[in-house]
C-alpha cells in the first residue's frame, strides 16, 4: 500500500516530537487542528500535553464529535499520556467537566504516578518487542482497569505493593501508553503503530 498519512492532534502538547518520530517510522505526518484536517488523515496520534487543555480546545473547536465518529469507524489512534486519557472510556481524578474521545474499554487515573517530583524514567518490557523500551513518565496516568477486549502490552511494578501498574494497552486499532516514546529517539513504538495503520488499511 502507499505510505499512510498520520495526523498529530496539534491543539497543545509535544506535537513536534511525534511528527519527527512518525516520519522516522516511514509515515507521512502532519499536524491536525481542524475537522477538515482530521478528515484527510488515515490515522491519528494524540500527543502528551495537558489533558484538560486539549479536551477543552477539542470541544471548543468542534473536534470532539468528529474524533468520536472516526474512532467508531475504525480509524487507528495512538495516544501518549494525555492522549491515553483522551482514549479512555472512563477517567478518574479528571476535572468534573472533562470529556474524552473514548474508544478503549479502560479506566485511566490521571496524574496517578504523582506530581513532577515523582516523574521518572525506567526500562520496561513491551509485548512483542525483543528489547525493553525506555518509559519516560511525566505526571503520568496509569490504567486502573481494563475490559475483556483490551490487550495489556506493558506494566511497571507498583512502588507501594505487589501489584503491577498497566502502562500500555491496545484494543483493536487503538493504542495507548502512559509514557512518552517520542522523547527518547527510540521509534519502535511508533513503528508498531505504523504497522497497525498499514494492517487496518488492508
Amino acid at each position: 500500500m502507499s505510505t499512510p498519512t498520520i495526523g498529530v492532534l496539534a491543539l497543545q502538547g509535544d506535537v513536534r516530537e511525534h511528527l519527527v518520530a512518525l516520519a522516522a517510522a516511514d509515515a507521512l505526518a502532519r499536524p491536525v487542528r481542524r475537522p477538515e484536517e482530521l478528515a484527510e488523515v488515515d490515522a491519528l496520534v494524540m500527543p502528551g500535553g495537558e489533558s484538560t487543555t486539549i479536551s477543552k480546545l477539542a470541544v471548543l473547536f468542534g473536534l470532539m464529535d468528529p474524533l468520536r465518529e472516526r474512532v467508531r469507524a475504525g480509524m487507528p489512534v495512538y495516544g501518549t499520556c494525555a492522549g491515553m486519557i483522551m482514549l479512555a472510556d472512563k477517567i478518574l481524578d479528571g476535572r468534573d467537566d472533562q470529556e474524552t474521545v473514548g474508544g478503549i474499554d479502560m479506566t485511566v487515573r490521571r496524574n496517578a504516578f504523582g506530581r513532577q517530583n515523582e516523574s521518572f524514567e525506567t526500562a520496561i518490557p513491551f509485548e512483542g518487542m525483543a528489547e525493553p523500551v525506555t518509559g519516560v513518565f511525566i505526571r503520568a496516568p496509569w490504567v486502573e482497569s481494563v475490559g475483556a477486549g483490551v490487550e495489556v502490552l506493558a506494566e511497571v511494578p507498583a512502588a507501594d505493593g505487589p501489584d503491577a501498574r498497566i502502562v500500555a494497552v491496545r484494543q483493536g486499532n487503538l493504542l495507548a501508553t502512559s509514557f512518552h516514546p517520542e522523547l527518547t529517539g527510540d521509534h519502535r513504538v511508533h513503528e508498531y503503530f505504523v504497522r497497525m495503520v498499514e494492517a487496518a488499511a488492508r
Binding site: R16, G49, T52, L57, Q116, F120, E121, V136, R139
Partner: protein, 303 residues
Amino acid sequence: MSTTPTTADQPQIGTARVKRGMAEQLKGGVIMDVVNAEQAKIAEDAGAVAVMALERVPADIRKDGGVARMSDPNMIEEIIEAVSIPVMAKSRIGHFVEAQVLQSLGVDYIDESEVLTPADEINHSDKWAFTTPFVCGATNLGEALRRIAEGAAMIRSKGEAGTGNVVEAVRHLRQIKNEIAKLRGFDNNELYAAAKELRAPYELVREVAELGKLPVVLFSAGGVATPADAALMRQLGAEGVFVGSGIFKSGDPAKRAAAIVKATTFFDDPKVIADASRNLGEAMVGINCDTLPESERYANRGW
C-alpha cells in the same frame, strides 16, 4: 539465583529527560500567574496548561516596591490543592534555599525569576542539584545557554514583566532567535570564538548550531496582554507563553484567559484571533517601557 538490579533497571527521577520532557508537554500552551486558589481555578477553567503561584503579580510588585520574595508556602499549597494542572512557583535569583523550600512543597516547576528581588548578584542557583525542574528567563542566547549550563530545563524570553507592553518580549525573543540563526551559518572553527563571545559552554553552543534551536523548550514572557500579543510571540517562534499581570489585571479575567488560550493554539489563523479578541473588556493599562528607569527594568537582573 537472584541478581542485584543495577541502577539502570531502577526508576530514575529528576533526570534531564524527565525535567525537559515536562516542558515539552506544556508546548502550545499558556501559563498564567495567579495569586490565590480562586484565580487558579479560573485559569484552569480557561484552559491554562499550568499556573504560576505568586503573592503579587508583577504589576503590583512594581507598584508596591520593596523586596519581592518567594510566596507563603500556605498560599502555594492552597493553589496546589485547588487545581489538577501543574503548579509553578518563583524563587529569587541565586536563592537556592527558597528553591529547596519550593521543591519540598511539591511544586512542578521552579521559576528562578528576575521579577523577584535577586538574592545573589553574581551567581544563579545550581539547578542540577534539584529533582524539580527549573525555568529561567533570558534576554539573549548567551544568557539562555548559561542558565541551561546551570541546569535550567526550560527557558522563557524575559520581556518586561508587569508592563502589559509586548515590546521587550519581542526584542528578547527576536534576539535569541537571531543569534541561533547566526550560529547555524558558522563552521566548526568559528564556534569556539562564538562560545567565548556568548560566554557560554562550547558544547552547548555546538548543540544549538546543530539543532537550530535551544536544547530545551523556549517560551515567551513579560508583557503579553492580549490574544494578538500571544499569537505574535508564537509566530515569532515562542513555543508557548507566560501571561502574568495581563489576565488578572484586566476587566474580565475569565474571558481574557480563555481568549489567550485560543489565540495561542490558532496563532496563525487571524480569524480565530479576531473572534477571540472581541468584547474582552478593559485590557490592563500598561506602561510605556521608554519611561521605565534602568533600576526598574527587571530584565536587567540576571548574569
